[in-house]
């Protein structure tokens, strides 16, 4: 097990390097450091000194990839690319282009993201699995057919409709909860109700159908026939046999997205003005703040790779065939 994790971490390093290279290329092909300085300083006419100072402060005064003026190893190390990337591997995100401490910002902003994504996931799992199980139990009957039709219809409605509609409904008519914004501590609770609800309703269609398919597949397997031959009732069969086997693909599918819960949904956070990591990233892209962007991309990649590793590990917990090999 430990060996496995170590090996995966080793594989992760070239991937992270690759991610960094791509991010760099994308960013700096579009903007030279001079352009970035000009944009940030914002004034109509900026003096050359101001630009140079801006670049110096942030370490952008060096060549991007290869420093021809240096010798030996310094050719590579005394560049923007190297200096920026190396720090990332020790999770030192440095300062954003507008001067703030990125690490601090991240540690503050991840809580709002989690406050929305974690409840969405948990409640969603519970709800969708229940619905999927119910539809599978009633397969072929009107309950099933109308359920599936409802799912397809809800899947076909754009997520934006749920967001905008939800905000409109609550904001103009029901006035139950605030429709956007955020607060600290326990006050946050009333701000997350609507985003979580909207997320749940938006995801019902696709997830319920997917889980229903998984359960139906399991029901066609041989061991279910054996269970019936033992004289078990249909609901026992569903609960003890189908559910426990169906959970394997479901849970392992969930685990892969667990780490990305930290980043949150870019869209939901924008619409509901939640100061999470998702809106952090979007704002940075819009403002072309490279320091934040490269940090968030790196963080995102690390979390994605952790997600992949967690998925493999979760198989060993959930599936005894993998565990006891």
């Amino acid at each position: 097990m430990i060996n496995y994790i170590l090996r995966r971490i080793l594989y992760a390093v070239p991937i992270l390097i690759g991610v960094n290279i791509i991010t760099f290329v994308l960013f700096f092909v579009v903007n030279t450091p001079d352009d970035m300085a000009r944009m940030h300083l914002g004034m109509k006419r900026v003096s050359q000194e101001a630009i140079i100072k801006w670049k110096d402060d942030r370490g952008y005064n060096k060549p991007i990839l290869i420093n021809k003026e240096e010798n030996g190893i310094k050719k590579i190390t005394n560049t923007i690319f190297f200096e920026n990337s190396i720090k990332l591997f020790i999770f030192d995100f440095g300062r954003s282009d507008s001067g703030r401490d990125i690490g601090y910002d991240i540690s503050q902003r991840m809580w709002p993201s989690l406050a929305i994504t974690v409840p969405s996931l948990l409640i969603g799992l519970l709800a969708y699995i229940t619905f999927g199980l119910i539809l599978a139990f009633f397969r072929g009957t009107y309950v099933d057919i109308s359920g599936v039709v409802l799912c397809v219809i809800m899947m076909s409605i754009s997520g934006l409709f749920y967001i905008i509609g939800g905000q409109y409904l609550i904001g103009k008519f029901l006035h139950l909860v605030p429709i956007s914004g955020y607060d600290t501590g326990l006050n946050a609770f009333k701000f997350i109700i609507l985003p979580v609800l909207v997320g749940l309703i938006g995801g019902i269609g696709a997830s319920t159908r997917w889980y229903r398919t998984i359960f139906l597949e399991e029901m066609n397997k041989d061991y279910v026939r054996t269970a019936r031959a033992k004289g078990l009732s249909e609901s026992s069969v569903l609960y003890r046999h189908v559910l426990s086997n169906g959970l394997i693909p479901i849970l392992t599918g969930i685990v892969v997205i667990l780490p990305s819960l930290f980043i949150g949904s870019l869209i939901v956070e924008s619409f509901f003005a939640v100061p999470g990591l998702g809106s952090y990233t979007i704002d940075a892209i819009n403002r072309q703040d490279f320091a934040i962007v490269r940090s968030m991309v790196f963080l995102g990649s690390v979390l994605y790779i952790i997600g992949l590793i967690l998925t493999d590990i979760s198989y060993t917990f959930v599936d005894p065939r993998v565990r006891l090999n």
Partner: protein, 550 residues
């Protein structure tokens, strides 16, 4: 009919159909039989005969598209087909137990053996948890699983195929049933394991006095287990007798056809005459010397090789033109791996494979390609051996095109027609797709495909194992005929001893990657020396037929 007290289960006029209205078709047609107390009743038939559906009907476990449309099944004076579902559930598992064909998939992979046995116990009896565990251990002991106390907490994948089937039997026995329905329980098991399981069933029957309704297609197994046999074909029972009577005096045409199809020594002698079988007048085609195929086991962070799985271990064997060398072994013996290794379809670790004095391992790719025409292969599973999306014409011609046989399309077409006719099919079949043919027909097409490149040696990897007995005999006859006509050498991989009797000239027995014994077919089958060979031969269920039937 005999005195009713002796009858445990009476099935009368059972009809099972599928489809509605005009498209209704009967899978089981007016079937009637009785199973007496304490006896084993065998339903014998080939695939599509309706025997499994009959068994499932009694348990009322049919798939939704298939329904019982007529008949009764009387157990303990009540008709099972009239019971409401909740009463039927009390019968399932308690009065009637059932075991299925595929032990690999019939157990829930995420529950332990103990949990699955206890489930039956808790469903039908009110036992305390402690008593459940005790009873489960007793049952595992009864079915012959060693270290039952420990193994009760293990998962299905930690047991071998034979042991999984024993667990299935334990589950079925947990409710103390009066009747055990066994649907082809040993078909997926090796011959030696099969012998053990059949013995176990007989012992349990003696101990508990339960009846067994045994479904099988294997005449040998039927002969070993049955008290009474009913032969089924196309949904109807064509003949039903006691075992003794059936085997000494079969009357129905179909039964006779079945008996005639069984490959055996006697049948071979009758067809080929009493000539001696030796290799002195044949030329050598293939020499395999110390062939090894090892798979590395890698562990650790850097995946260092810590050991090897010895799939094929130091195998030496020769093959001559016009003769059949049979490689006999059970699953995991390495026989298929050896076949693929000879063909260079997988990487060989060491050893020399010489074909007509050329070392196949050392050839460069274009020379190897030329030789490929000479050595061909026919696979076991007729359903996956042809690309379902290609027409037969293209399938047969693929080899010709790759090997440059036939200079024009017209010539290739003519060849294709000739090949199809050689294997007993029609010219127009070449514009059809594989799924339009039966299993036996598909194997014929595969043989035609192999012949298309005019090989000298064909590796037959269990070509008839997936086919019904009657179809099997047709394919074997075809193979023999082609061998005579084209002087082909066959490397015939099989686990079926009767087929070996019928077709082989030379036999090699494989066990765990090694050839434990080889020699002429007469020597091996009549005077085996190696203990494994002896064990293998004794495990084969024999049919006591009167010789005048052949």
């Amino acid at each position: 009919m005999i005195d009713n007290n002796e009858n445990l289960l009476q099935v009368k006029n059972l009809t099972v159909s599928t489809g509605t209205g005009g498209r209704k078709s009967n899978i089981v047609n007016n079937v009637s039989f009785c199973v007496r107390r304490g006896e084993t009743f065998v339903l014998l038939g080939e695939s599509g005969s309706g025997k499994s559906i009959t068994a499932l009907s009694i348990m009322r476990l049919l798939p939704t598209a298939i329904k019982i449309t007529a008949g009764e099944a009387i157990l303990h004076k009540s008709d099972l087909f009239q019971l409401p579902e909740n009463k039927m559930r009390k019968i399932r598992g308690a009065k009637i137990g059932m075991i299925f064909q595929e032990p690999q998939t019939s157990l829930n992979p995420v529950l332990t053996a103990g949990q699955q046995i206890s489930e039956t116990l808790r469903q039908h009896e009110n036992l305390s948890k402690k008593r459940c565990i005790e009873r489960s251990i007793e049952l595992l002991d009864a079915v012959g699983i060693p270290e039952s106390k420990r193994r009760i907490n293990e998962y299905p994948h930690q047991f071998s195929g034979g042991m999984k089937q024993r667990i299935m039997i334990a589950i079925a026995l947990a409710g103390n049933p009066d009747l055990l329905i066994a649907d082809e329980p040993t078909t997926a098991l090796d011959v030696t394991i099969q012998a053990q399981v059949l013995e176990l069933l007989k012992k349990l029957q003696d101990d508990t006095g339960m009846s067994i309704l045994f479904i099988t297609h294997d005449l040998g197994v039927a002969s070993q287990m049955a008290d009474h046999i009913a032969v089924m074909k196309n949904g109807s029972i064509v003949e039903a007798k006691s075992k003794k009577e059936l085997f000494s005096n079969p009357e129905h045409q179909y039964t006779l056809k079945l008996f005639n199809a069984i490959p055996s020594w006697e049948k071979r002698k009758k067809e080929d005459g009493m000539g001696k079988i030796d290799r002195s007048d044949k030329s050598n085609l293939l020499k395999v010397k110390k062939l090894k195929v090892y798979y590395p086991i890698k562990k650790g962070v850097f995946k260092r090789t810590v050991g090897h799985v010895q799939a094929v271990d130091d195998v030496t064997i020769d093959l001559y033109a016009g003769e059949t060398v049979a490689i006999v072994g059970e699953s995991g013996s390495g026989k298929t791996t050896m076949g693929k290794g000879i063909l260079q379809l997988l990487e060989v670790t060491s050893g020399v494979v010489t074909y007509q004095q050329k070392d196949l391992n050392r050839l460069d790719s274009s020379s190897l390609r030329e030789i490929r025409a000479d050595i061909q292969i026919v696979f076991q599973d007729p359903y996956s051996s042809m690309n379902p999306r290609m027409m037969i014409n293209d399938i047969i011609q693929e080899g010709m095109l790759a090997q440059g046989i036939g200079n024009s399309e017209k010539e290739r077409d003519e060849n294709t027609v000739e090949l199809l006719e050689q294997v007993g099919l029609l010219a127009e079949h070449r514009y059809r797709y594989p799924h339009e043919f039966s299993g036996g027909q598909r194997q014929r097409i595969c043989i035609a495909r192999a012949l298309a490149v005019k090989p000298k040696l064909i590796i037959c990897d269990e070509p008839t194992s997936a086919l019904d007995v009657s179809v099997q005999s047709q394919i074997l006859t075809l193979l023999k005929k082609l061998q005579k006509e084209h002087s082909l050498g066959y490397l015939f991989i099989t686990h079926n001893i009767s087929v070996v009797e019928y077709i082989a000239h030379y036999v090699a027995v494989m066990y765990e990657g090694k050839i434990v014994e080889q020699g002429s077919v007469e020597k091996i089958l009549k005077n085996p020396e190696n203990p494994y060979t002896k064990k293998l031969l004794s495990a084969v269920p024999r049919i006591e037929l009167k010789s005048n039937l052949l």
